[in-house]
Point group: C3
Chain length 355, copies 3
Amino acid sequence: MFLNLLLIFVPIAFFLEFTNANGTLIFAASALAILPLAGWMGRATEELAARAGSTIGGLLNATFGNATELIIAFFALQAGKIEVVKASIIGSILGNLLLVMGLAVFLGGLKFRTQRFNIQSAGLVTSMLTLSVIALLVPTVFDLAARQTEAAGLVERLDVNLSDATAVVLILLYVANIVFSLVTHKDVLSTADEEGEEHGPNWSVLRAVGVLLGATILVGFMSEFLVGSLEVATRSFGLSEFFVGLILIPIIGNAAEHAAAVLFALRNKMDLAMTIALGSTVQVALLVAPLLVLASLLIGSPMSLVVSPIEMVAVFAAVIIANSVVRDGETNWLEGALLLGVYVLIGSAVFFYPA
Amino acid sequence: MFLNLLLIFVPIAFFLEFTNANGTLIFAASALAILPLAGWMGRATEELAARAGSTIGGLLNATFGNATELIIAFFALQAGKIEVVKASIIGSILGNLLLVMGLAVFLGGLKFRTQRFNIQSAGLVTSMLTLSVIALLVPTVFDLAARQTEAAGLVERLDVNLSDATAVVLILLYVANIVFSLVTHKDVLSTADEEGEEHGPNWSVLRAVGVLLGATILVGFMSEFLVGSLEVATRSFGLSEFFVGLILIPIIGNAAEHAAAVLFALRNKMDLAMTIALGSTVQVALLVAPLLVLASLLIGSPMSLVVSPIEMVAVFAAVIIANSVVRDGETNWLEGALLLGVYVLIGSAVFFYPA
Amino acid sequence: MFLNLLLIFVPIAFFLEFTNANGTLIFAASALAILPLAGWMGRATEELAARAGSTIGGLLNATFGNATELIIAFFALQAGKIEVVKASIIGSILGNLLLVMGLAVFLGGLKFRTQRFNIQSAGLVTSMLTLSVIALLVPTVFDLAARQTEAAGLVERLDVNLSDATAVVLILLYVANIVFSLVTHKDVLSTADEEGEEHGPNWSVLRAVGVLLGATILVGFMSEFLVGSLEVATRSFGLSEFFVGLILIPIIGNAAEHAAAVLFALRNKMDLAMTIALGSTVQVALLVAPLLVLASLLIGSPMSLVVSPIEMVAVFAAVIIANSVVRDGETNWLEGALLLGVYVLIGSAVFFYPA
């Protein structure tokens, strides 16, 4: 795969970092280096999942599926860039629902006139998506309401209390989701598992563990370099941190999902493409976001789940759009074009947004 | 039914009230006393409905179904607790869509792997629900908009005019709904009627009228005691009136619906469980809310339908969630858990909300 | 057709205008004169479309379908009435989704118990509708967000930049929509074309071109008179310009669609009625709105796409309602009554709204 050529940027990023090179170069090199590493992490996880049998395997997939994002966000959190982390959570949801789904639907639709997928299982994932995203937004809604009536000090405490409570509820729902899909209703989403096994490479378990470990460690280093050079890079490109968090980091962190979803769409396996786009979003809301809240408590600079009104509305709109596209069990290139159109609009809005 | 044991709290509440006992005790006793009385009112109404033939019977059911809520709200209105009444209208919608539906779907889902219901009639009720809730929120939306541009005096008049106009439109739509379901499209929702007749107790009409009258009068007394002790009780429990109105009163007022919906779900009659949760919500929006507006005009302290932005968003989210759950005609325990999760989050948000 | 009797108001409007008659009379006469002219424009366009073959014909229909609205809005733009133009864009969406659809569903439902339509093609148009309306609202959302954080000067520039970018994206999506429905997926919406040909009058092409040209020119004059007398008329009727833009102009401009949709509903051709109501809305969002933005740049008084929060919420609610009604592929009179109820509420809210 030509993506592996980008692995050359791993040593380059190390070299630039340790020679104290220009921040913009470090940023670009580490961003490019993450792309193939995320791919290797994904393939190693799938390999282990295939070997481990479907229950443990599903658990592995569901937990390490968004590992890259989580690692980048963790280093950003440690560097005190709380707003960037929050924007990257929102951006990841928007990216999955509009960009990943949009690209898959559009490119798949150019090749196949109408693509169909199992409306039953997609409908279930969409319900989950709607509910989990609404749960994620509860702190923002109450913050907005309280801000119109009360002193700022009380609002801060409300935000933290409510975000912690929300994080706990979200993780409980994540566990419920795991129990549902791996224990009580194993067969509903079984298509995805079978496909995974069929296409999985034939590695030894030991090699897979080694690759997973190595790639994870390297992603960690790259993420640290990326976050460290963020400020210099954004300044030299004239980008706001908001743009980087909402658009750039999610694209880097989700590149593996993008590639997989588009490949499945081009093979007319829309069930899998939709499962990736929708399932990954559910994971961000139910696992990535609450884990980052809890991690922020350990680090000592508590992050709330309160985002800006604009991010809330954008996410809400994306969920309504995804519902609307999934509803009829069919897609075509025009729907993909509309999804991409909305993503481009939101991207350009964030770009023009006064820093 | 073990609920009848709670009837002991009827005389206890009377005793406490007339001995000027501690307000918290009066509050607790009258709240507990309402639960079995609401059950008796519901059963007597159903009995009369079954005897009266399906048209008049349906009318009875549709009108007295939310009588308990209406009575509690009426006494709260008379005591000048307008904000509590408004919160209880919103809380009743949230309670029906998230808590009643959530409990029924979750508990039913633990017993049955997948529960199915007639998507056609549920879809119709959901359309009605969406439309009626949106109509109910029109005054709030315009209040918010006007508040950003105009002097407060004009906004007050807008609120009252618009709320009265909305109340009239809502009651007209309620009448239209009655005509639809009892005259022109009688058969669409007929399953519910048949079931009701089948399971209805074999009382004489006279006894049913007596029970209905007696229970209604007692609910009236209990509601007056409840409202009278509200302030003392909330202070001693450390609860805000917002929490009591939004969470506590709707749970007390809707207890009968909760029990019925869960029982039907456990018997795998999801059609009936959904009809109760959705239909009761429609009734709150189209009948309870406008009747309270009109009653407030008679009492002389006009209540508008303008609620806080947070209540508006919560109701909106609940409607989207209900749409999302109903859409595929199937439920499972995970969907129930998500509904309950969102309800718990909203509840804890209101709890943490600065008083 | 009795509508043609209103043609008498064409000369009356000319006479009143050139004798400098009372503005209110000019306003009423030109408004009434536009109704039959719009009908003639519609029929001539359909005739040409039928003659031109389905591809060019579809293009004609899709482009001139909202010509009346576009002409009125253009003259209002030239007169500097930017707020009226923006309100008329929003009002046109509300009118199509609530009033046109509501009248068709209600009146059709009085005649036929349950009316059915092809859920597949309606679902596709509804997806398009949802996506295009959300795209249209992106500038408003970002304006609201920016307004809470930044200096007014920066917001103005953001509004203009973002509105221009949005207009370009919308027109690209419009072209994509044309390509989709006339080239790659011609057959999906074919029912409408066949019907059109079948019922089309048997004119010669030349006569149709003549009628189209003549009616367009007359509509232009009438629109100029209408806009010129707007201020006097609104003052004498005690109406706000907001009411005129949001309610009155869209009713005048969409009268032809109203009549056509109701006629199709009364003939139980709900597919066509829904296509008119939904398709016309898509056209407003993807073609009328961006063309007016671009025209405003040429005229020299740039119009942004930023509307008031209330308009945004109303449009959003209308889209959710339309989704809810279309979803099950069936309609009845009660759904129509609810659509009309919401429209009446919004209308009365705008009427009571402090000017």
